[in-house]
Symmetry: C2
Subunit: 331 residues, 2 copies
Amino acid sequence: MKHPKLLLTLFLISLLSNPLFAQTTDPLPSWNDGKVKDKIINFVQAVTTKSSPYYVVPTDRIATFDNDGTLWVEYPTYTQVLFAFDRVKELAPSHPEWKTQQPFKALLEGDMKTVGASGMKGLVEILMATHSGMSGDEFNEESAKWLKTTQNTHFKHLYMELVYQPQLELLNYLRANGFKTFIVSGGGVAFMRSVTQEVYGIPTYQVIGSSIVSKYKKVDGENELVRVPKINFINDEAGKPVGIYNHIGKRPIFAFGNSDHDIEMIEYTKETKGLSLALFVHHTDSSREFAYDRKSHVGTLDKALDRAKKEDWIIVDMKKDWKTIFPFNLK
Amino acid sequence: MKHPKLLLTLFLISLLSNPLFAQTTDPLPSWNDGKVKDKIINFVQAVTTKSSPYYVVPTDRIATFDNDGTLWVEYPTYTQVLFAFDRVKELAPSHPEWKTQQPFKALLEGDMKTVGASGMKGLVEILMATHSGMSGDEFNEESAKWLKTTQNTHFKHLYMELVYQPQLELLNYLRANGFKTFIVSGGGVAFMRSVTQEVYGIPTYQVIGSSIVSKYKKVDGENELVRVPKINFINDEAGKPVGIYNHIGKRPIFAFGNSDHDIEMIEYTKETKGLSLALFVHHTDSSREFAYDRKSHVGTLDKALDRAKKEDWIIVDMKKDWKTIFPFNLK
């Protein structure tokens, strides 16, 4: 050893980029220590350690996350529905017919009871009217602008800030271990995509969601991708494995949901040949977020709670397992 | 300087991973020097140099490539059609009805004239019969097996080896410069995906293609993703920008095609706000590959040839611009 000091420096530098060293610091500081956190870390080590019988090559390390209620707040009303409501108000001046046409009339008058009574049919009408008729580029701008500037009245924070800190850490931890992280949500793909890179570090092409039909045609002499008011694909329940197959072409080995609408994605993941991990967020924290499950009108978690007891599905208890809920709660 | 030898070694190691150093070696050795190669390299430098007025952030560096005739051989018959023909022969024992049913009867008897006369309708029947009825996992295995073991009679090489060496170099060059490379093809997405990682270094979730409908259902007590004989999406011509929008959610800044079926993808790319590059392979090499364009029954390059003269579209002359065609030609 002729140059001990330089060699020591080189060694310390090499340690910093060494995954073994990284494991001695906590990769999930906003997760409380316990069974759930251990299961996540043990799984990641089992599939990434070359000598492990459960080793998975990096190209097969696919992780899928639901979005509403799993990565960001969904209660008491889905963020995208609130965006659609705001769009109706914004677009109203160019739609004089809405003054007499339900459910638009009720929405503009603030009569939410009548809007609610219009049910799924009314909601789809509102979504179609506010999500189509523009180009893909324009809709992307509108969505991003709304998410980055609109404040949630309950939390007094922007909608794009209402993401769960433990999940941001988990996404980073998985990616640091060679996983590709995907969103697989019933929400509109174009709406989510407008901020997923910035908020979650998930590129636009790793977001799978519901969509309306788009057509490529000439608009004002320019070729444009125009969104038309017709449903293309519903990426929900049994649609989730279909969306995963069409977009990714591989089974995930890791899946995270929060409601009965994620059951099929979880089944599809758990039936992979090797080791896999499946988790559900259980919203149990009425003080820091919300508490809802079996009888909730959004994010119903009922059948999955029962099946988790018999099957190898992990229930994440928000109150017990998460030390911090939102990034803005970090000290 | 106390340890000149060690420091020099460290410096040389750092150079190897430095993009500036890489640029002094030829990143595209199978491309002949000339205007086309210069345009590609100038474009990549313009969008990746931070001080350039054309600088593009890495997350927006999207490059899309057609597959048939652009990345691998398509002449005189699309590879996937040959796969379907072979599948008919393989599946025939369990389909006794094909002995009397056209176009299956003709195909099994080797009467290709009658198969051809059955036209697009006959072809779709053959594709549906051979591409559906199994799980996604099973079809993936079948496709990969065929591509890795079936020899092309003209070139005497496996189908998965019939990829263009200059394009493999270009894909690597783009990725080394922070681009994400996608396939955007009229071919079946599931067929291509079975080998794209291995052949092109393109992950399954960066392949956009045509698809049939899939359904998630119970098969023998297991939940399975089953392919059903119904067209879901045709990712061709005006379908290409739609496929790009649905899957990527961003306009490419680089697109490479080889036929009139790629025109819309090229238009969509060229109408991006910043700098973009659009290219077409022109098959001009009757000795090393094939020569075909305006009147070809596959890969028709007619309108695009005319428009390329007026618009900023680059025609790549295979005979003139490509030093080597296939990886197995490399010395």
